[in-house]
């Protein structure tokens, strides 16, 4: 409405001028005018200058300007970032109306670079950027999902389908980047204390699902995301080692108030179910296994090797042959009541079609002085596993106030609250999914009387509980309160120099409440069990910078200098209550019979950082570019004298298109070459308080005492230093048809700050040290094409591919074996010459066609059976979790009012250790560690239908070994269960229709959206992307222990702008 009024006003003014009596042409006259965009909206802030002079003005909020020109044939130049420059010859006009067109060239884009922004054409670093329009409408809770497959060098994977779960973002192979939201570095790790990989004693045995605190940011509030990949990240010095993700949220613009309402509603379902045996097939599998055992025994005897697999007495103890050694017909029949007619498909019982809804409303606008963006959203996602959900409420207000020409200030604040009803023990061997994989189809969910069926009464020794019971009777919530708020003030001394100060806080409170009802196995004997965890984290940050920008002749110089200080405290507590007489759904710990306060090693975590920041950018005529960065950081994590780290970097660029020899070349629109080298630091791998050797609190006989907590290494620890060298090119060719960039980099992580194994005789397994080096090398290609562009139809494509190579160059202690679960066999190794994430295991040698034995290579090259394998002796490197290349390909179509986006993602060459498959391909095994322990009452687990193709007769060539009841005819930690993790995914399909402007609204778009529509992969489990270790630790990447599978989502949405 206001907009209409303003437009009217402008027109009236113009008319008034036109109607006014013509003034005689003077030498000097004032010209007035309005600048509008292609849609007819006034454009404020456009710079208007007179060619050949340094006179100029910028347009006001309503797009108007007035300027004194001398001489008749003056030429006015209109320029605005992101728009094509326009020159207009002024003759005798006194008023003009100028329409600026959006720039075709991507290089005109402005990129946020940390403590400022730069035109893409002037950037000398490797920076990937993505705008809101390329990721909006996705029904996802985590902003990282927005960039999946879209940017070169950045591999985003979904380690778990858990709602609110963290995504694994790896920038050039390094995980856990720094997230900076509107200039404020935010906490991105999970602060949830709820163990997700517990053993039965309740002890945590591994990293489980990771709730990302990045999920506290609403992806739809984001205007753009920039990722600093090379030495340009040095401006964030100490925390930038793994790359920096700069997030810019939406801000108000001067002009009409815009109200945007966006809603989408969708249905999610599990992408894939693993086909399992039904009751009859399950029964048959056991009988086949028993028959095979008797055959094997007789076969051994016939070949003069009697007892080479097991003794006659073992078969007798197990009850499959009688005293004379004759087979007992159908021995297992009594344990398999097929007449019950029960045939439970457990995956159908735990998975469901679940709704996801996202509602958001934002209002933005402003005047010349005040601009605002206020947005609220509600995100409500049910998990595809029963009784699991995630709800999040967000509110954001971004306000800018221009007090005078010199002074401005503003406030960005984001608050959110979320309730994550967790799926119990996702990613480990007692979880809901884990128990469903392998549960007997003969077991009902509930007994006739409505009580949960007791899993111990059915033939699957693998289970730890009835999975439906676990899902329903373990009420685990993670509640998060988050406030990220920053206030900034800017003072412009003159047109060249400004000062900016920012004060911000990041408050993050995470409460974990988990109640196990007395119906669950874990708490049955305890009368219910309540686990409480609280993490309260408070960070404040102050940054102060001066920016000086000056142009003399064709020289442009920008200098940045400043300092910053940051302090954060996290208080942690955990307690446990057991024994509740009247618990309800979530009792209070005060009602517990026994309350146990856990003694934590670090109940208060403190760290502080102070830094000096500087950067100098110089360019000559936009052609020759130079940039230098120096940052110094001081961290409280290191002992006195070793706290400072210095992170310099230098980069240069050359815009060849400005050169004469290319000016005639029609096929090259722009071409830039650039190179950079720089250092960045890392301190994330080390906990607080490693400055001295400490004693921590412990208890004996009810008394408090002190016990050694840490040990210091021989050298005081200091910053890990990462060195990155990058060369790259940005180009636009063939009349803007093809654009893109190519990067090559070599990056070394040196002085690795990590745990080094120490001799156990010290009483510690390790200490922190700076030792070791890892090198990453890679090639990244990003190509965009504008295939068709005309009035009615346009088609753009975007393709990216990255090749990464990671090698451990040196280690303090070579050949370190690492477990993904600390009570299991080791799955990974750190070895010089190999990449991080290398798997160890025994090599599978196939199935012996003569008798169906699974065979494995022993260290001496001979083949041995599963029960002869000696892990320590025989294990060798069998692959690694890193893809050889990955990328994405997306296409974007517009036809009249329709638009369509199809985004795909691919990854090739990674391996996944499917550690749960040995369970659901247990081939009728009894589950007993020794043949003599075999019991007919229990077999280990139900199997997938692949085992129907198992070895069944001598001479058969197959990869699936002979089903055996007495023997575990497979070795879990072997390459038999290491699978190809390559995939191609149709990640996103979005089709929309724009209704356009009507009386009621400015625009309306309706759309349908599909997420994870299709996955092509040879992987036998749910999804090759999942990682049960949450993916946070690259050393143990690529392990699937029945992780929560990802969902396919189909949604409908509506976006109305008023």
């Amino acid at each position: 409405m206001q907009q209409h009024l303003r437009l009217l006003k402008t027109i009236l003014i113009i008319l008034a001028f036109c109607l006014a009596p013509r003034l005689t042409m003077a030498q000097d006259h004032v010209i007035k005018g309005t600048v509008i965009d292609q849609q007819g909206n006034p454009m404020p802030g456009v710079s208007v200058s007179i060619k050949g002079t340094n006179q100029g003005v910028t347009t006001a909020v309503d797009g108007t300007f007035s300027l004194k020109v001398s001489g008749e044939n003056s030429v006015l130049i209109f320029s605005f970032l992101g728009y094509e420059k326009k020159s207009v010859e002024i003759k005798s006009q006194t008023t003009i109306r100028v329409t600026l067109e959006e720039s075709k060239s991507e290089l005109k884009e402005v990129l946020v670079v940390g403590y400022g922004s730069q035109k893409k054409s002037e950037v000398t670093g490797a920076i990937s950027s993505i705008k809101n329009k390329e990721f909006k409408d996705q029904p996802v809770s985590n902003l990282a999902a927005s960039i999946e497959g879209k940017l070169s060098g950045i591999n985003v994977t979904q380690p778990s389908g858990t709602p609110g779960a963290g995504l694994l973002v790896s920038i050039r192979g390094a995980q856990n980047p720094l997230y900076v939201v509107d200039g404020v570095p935010m906490i991105s790790e999970s602060n949830s204390s709820l163990g997700t990989s517990n053993n039965l004693g309740g002890e945590s045995v591994g990293n489980g699902q990771n709730l990302s605190s990045i999920s506290d940011i609403n992806p739809n509030d984001i205007e753009s995301i920039e990722i600093l990949k090379d030495a340009s990240k040095a401006i964030y010095g100490s925390r930038a080692a793994n790359g920096v993700i700069l997030i810019t949220t939406k801000r108000g613009k001067a002009g009409a108030t815009s109200i945007d309402f966006n809603v989408n509603l969708g249905v999610q379902s599990v992408e894939k179910k693993i086909p399992f045996l039904n009751s009859q097939q399950f029964y048959n599998l056991t009988n086949t296994a028993i028959a095979n055992d008797i055959w094997v025994y007789n076969n051994d005897k016939a070949n003069g090797n009697e007892g080479s697999h097991f003794a006659l007495s073992d078969m007798q103890t197990a009850g499959i042959v009688d005293a004379s050694g004759k087979a007992i017909p159908n021995p297992a029949a009594q344990y398999y009541d097929l007449t019950s007619g029960i045939n439970t498909n457990w995956q159908d019982q735990i998975f469901r079609n679940a709704l996801v809804g996202n509602y958001q409303l934002s209002i933005s606008g402003g005047t010349k002085k005040i601009k605002y963006f206020v947005g609220g959203s509600y995100f409500d996602q049910d998990g595809i596993i029963i009784s699991n959900y995630y709800k999040r409420y967000n509110l954001r207000a971004n306000i800018d106030y221009q007090v005078t020409d010199h002074i401005s200030f503003g406030l960005n604040t984001s608050t959110s609250y979320s309730d994550n009803k967790r799926s119990f023990n996702d990613n480990t061997y007692t979880g809901v999914v884990t128990n469903a994989l392998g549960a007997s189809p003969l077991m009902p969910v509930r007994n006739q009387d409505g009580t949960y069926a007791d899993f111990t009464q059915y033939q699957a020794a693998w289970l730890s509980d009835n999975p439906v019971k676990s899902a329903n009777e373990i009420n685990a919530h993670t509640y998060t309160d988050r406030v990220i708020s920053s206030a900034f003030g800017e003072y412009k001394f003159n047109k060249d120099l400004k000062f900016r100060t920012t004060w911000s806080i990041d408050f993050n409170k995470v409460n974990d409440n988990a109640f196990y009802s007395a119906l669950t196995n874990d708490a049955q004997a305890l009368g219910g069990k309540l686990l409480l965890g609280e993490s309260k984290s408070y960070t404040w940050l102050n940054e102060n910078t001066f920016t000086y920008q000056h142009k003399f002749g064709k020289n442009n110089i920008t200098l940045l200098g400043g300092f910053s200080q940051q302090e954060s405290r996290t208080n942690l507590s955990q307690s446990r209550g057991t024994g509740f007489t009247n618990p309800g759904n979530m009792p209070s710990i005060n009602d517990a019979e026994i309350v146990n306060q856990k003694i934590l090693d670090y109940p208060l975590v403190y760290d502080a950082l102070e830094s000096f920041i500087s950067r100098a950018n110089y360019d000559y005529d936009g052609k020759y570019l130079l940039s230098a960065i120096m940052r110094a950081d001081r961290s409280s994590k290191f002992p006195t004298g070793h706290q400072w780290g210095y992170f310099p970097s230098i980069s240069a660029g050359w815009n060849l298109t400005g050169e004469e020899f290319l000016s005639e070349n029609k096929s090259i629109n722009t071409l830039k070459l650039r190179a950079s080298y720089g250092l960045s630091g890392d301190q994330t791998n080390v906990p607080a308080y490693q400055n001295y050797a400490y004693y921590g609190i412990s208890k004996y006989d009810g008394n408090f005492g002190y016990v050694p907590l840490n040990q210091l290494g021989p050298e005081p620890i200091t910053w890990q230093t990462n060195k990155t060298f990058n060369i790259g090119t940005d180009f636009e060719l063939f009349n803007h048809f093809l654009s893109g960039s190519i990067e090559y980099f070599i990056s070394s992580e040196t002085k690795l700050l990590n745990q080094t194994p120490s001799p156990g005789t010290t009483g510690f397994a390790s200490f922190y040290s700076n030792f070791g080096e890892i090198q990453d090398k890679g090639l990244e290609i990003q190509l965009n094409t504008s295939n068709i562009k005309n009035k009615d139809f346009s088609w753009n494509s975007s393709f990216n591919i990255s090749f990464l190579n990671n090698t451990i160059k040196s280690l303090k202690i070579d050949n370190q074996y690492i477990s993904s679960y600390n009570d299991q066999f080791q799955t990974h190794i750190l070895k010089v010459g190999q990449p991080v994430g290398t798997f160890i295991g025994v090599r599978f040698a196939g199935v012996d066609p003569a008798n169906g034995d699974a065979l494995y290579y022993a260290a001496d090259g001979t083949k041995e059976r599963a029960d002869q394998v000696n892990f320590t002796r025989d294990a060798t490197i069998i692959g690694n979790a890193r893809p050889k290349f990955f990328g994405g390909f997306s296409n974007d179509f517009k036809y009249k009012k329709f638009d369509l986006l199809i985004a795909t993602q691919f990854s090739y060459g990674s391996k996944v250790f499917n550690l749960i498959r040995p369970t659901y391909e247990s081939l009728g095994w009894s589950g007993a560690a020794t043949p003599s322990g075999a019991s007919l009452a229990t077999v280990y687990a139900n199997n997938d239908t692949r085992v129907l193709g198992a070895w069944s007769h001598p001479g058969q060539i197959t990869d699936i070994p002979r089903p055996s009841f007495l023997l575990q005819n497979y070795f879990p930690n072997s390459s038999e269960f290491l699978e190809d993790g390559s995939f191609f995914k149709v990640r996103t399909v979005n089709i929309g229709y724009n209704i356009g402007k009507t009386k009621l609204f400015n625009s309306m778009r309706i759309y349908a959206h599909a997420e994870n529509l299709l996955t092509l992969s040879k992987y036998i489990g749910y999804d090759p992307e999942v990682s049960s270790t949450g993916g946070g630790a690259p050393e143990t990447a690529g392990v699937d222990y029945a992780a929560y599978p990802p969902a396919r989502t189909i949604s409908l949405g509506l976006d109305i702008k008023f």
Binding site: N544, L604, S636, A688, G705, P714, G760, N870, A937
Partner: protein
């Protein structure tokens, strides 16, 4: 306008002042504990370190449950449960490999006890204001616990049965730095170090008349000496120190009607050294051996071997068979020793009981009247008829066999059996029939964890055969 300029300049200045005056505390000290260098200043700090030393015994990997239980699992008493956990299965098949995670964690946990003890012993030099008597009492306890820890390592990782062997364990008697490497001592040198510590401890504690079984006192030291001498096959000394404990008068063998109270009450008259747990500091015994009445095998890591059941079935009248649970609906066996306290999970660790002293003396004295009396002291209090010398005639059972069986019946699931089989050279005889793995003398002790071989650059050498 001007005002605002001043405000910006002022705020910059304030920020600068804050910065320069280090409002941010970059030299932060850990607030929830104390620096190692601050601890050993006075007797208060010293006593806290002593409490800390005791607490290192109670971690899960040591006497919090796993050390004694995994050793029993590696004998004919135990049977592997859990989720087909390879690390557990290796113990169950008596063929543990050097990358076993449980073994690795236990190795470090026991050395932590030694490191804590060494810090106390060395730290006493800087303590001021404490009486010599107090310093002696603390040092005496630290020495005894250091000796016990070394001995627990020796019998798990060393050739403890062969005093001529070079395969003892690294003996650590001084505070270590993170990269200090200690090579293995010979077996005889390991024994000497252990005995020297215990003798010094006995001397320092000699005036202590307290017999609280939760703390080291002269009787505990003597009991440890008796045990160590028995393993060393120094029978005269074994008998001598066992006698000192038996004659101490503070302990009694519970009779057949009350002996199960060992496992249901705290600090029974049987206990010479017992580690107490409570609802705040829970132990793992119940969860690892029992869990709940109708537990499945997957829920119990350390189940009971049917061989132990057969063993008791051949001992009519032995009331200790009642501590074997044969009625679990899921068809596996387990011990009932830690079945009480499901809720509190505060089952004690029974490190040394007076019964052991009688059986040590019976073994040390051999087939003599006194030896037989000691053996029968236990038998008759457990519902068995007295063993009489005539039984050892040619057709009767051998005295030492009866004694070994008595040890097994009495101490199953208390961590004795594997070591007893090893020191009498019986590992292969008893365990081979129960596994498909091929056993040799190699399997009489565990391998040194592979991690340790790597971390010491091979200075700590592996046991032969691993």
């Amino acid at each position: 306008m001007k005002k605002l300029i001043y405000i910006s300049i002022a705020s910059f200045s304030v920020a600068l002042i804050l910065f320069t005056s280090s409002c941010v505390k970059v030299n932060q000290i850990y607030p929830n504990g104390t620096q190692a260098t601050q601890l050993f200043k006075d007797s208060a700090g010293l006593s806290k370190a002593l409490v800390g030393l005791y607490s290192t015994l109670e971690v899960q990997e040591y006497y919090g449950a796993y050390y004694p239980l995994m050793c029993d699992l590696n004998s004919d008493n135990g049977y592997a449960g859990g989720y087909n956990n390879n690390a557990i299965n290796e113990f169950g098949a008596y063929s543990v490999t050097s990358s076993n995670a449980f073994l690795q964690n236990t190795y470090v946990a026991i050395y932590k006890t030694i490191a804590s003890a060494n810090a106390i012993i060395a730290g006493e030099a800087t303590v001021t204001g404490a009486s010599t008597q107090y310093l002696n009492a603390v040092k005496g306890q630290a020495l005894a616990l250091r000796a016990m820890a070394h001995f627990d390592l020796l019998r798990a990782f060393g050739y403890h049965w062969d005093i001529t062997s070079p395969y003892g364990i690294p003996v650590v008697t001084t505070p270590q730095t993170s990269t200090s490497i200690v090579p293995r001592a010979t077996v005889i040198d390991t024994y000497s170090a252990i005995i020297a510590d215990l003798q010094q401890s006995a001397d320092l504690l000699k005036n202590n008349i307290n017999r609280n079984p939760n703390y080291v006192n002269p009787a505990v030291v003597n009991a440890l000496l008796a045990r160590v001498y028995l393993y060393k096959k120094d029978y005269a000394n074994a008998a001598k120190f066992a006698t000192l404990v038996i004659n101490d008068g503070s302990y009694a063998v519970l009779d057949q009607n009350t002996f199960t109270q060992i496992y249901t009450t705290k600090n029974s008259k049987e206990s010479v050294f017992e580690l107490p747990f409570n609802s705040q500091t829970q132990s793992g015994y119940n969860a690892a051996t029992y869990a709940r009445p109708t537990a499945a095998l997957t829920e119990v890591l350390f189940a009971l071997n049917s061989d132990l059941q057969s063993f008791f079935q051949n001992r009519p009248g032995d009331l200790r068979y009642n501590l074997v649970d044969t009625t679990n609906p899921n068809g596996f066996l387990r011990t009932l020793k830690y079945s009480s306290d499901i809720k509190l999970k505060d089952n004690s660790a029974y490190v040394i009981r007076i019964s052991e002293m009688y059986l040590i003396r019976a073994e040390a004295l051999g087939n003599t009247t006194d030896g037989i009396n000691d053996l029968n002291k236990i038998r008759t209090n457990r519902g068995l008829p007295a063993y009489s010398p005539s039984d050892s005639e040619e057709d009767g059972p051998d005295y030492f066999q009866v004694l070994a069986d008595e040890n097994r019946a009495e101490f199953n699931f208390e961590g004795h059996r594997y070591f007893d089989l090893a020191r009498t050279g019986d590992v292969v005889n008893y365990l081979q029939p129960l596994t498909s793995a091929t056993l040799t003398v190699t399997n009489s002790c565990f391998p040194i964890p592979l991690r340790e071989i790597n971390a010491t650059g091979g200075v700590v050498v592996q046991n032969p055969g691993y």
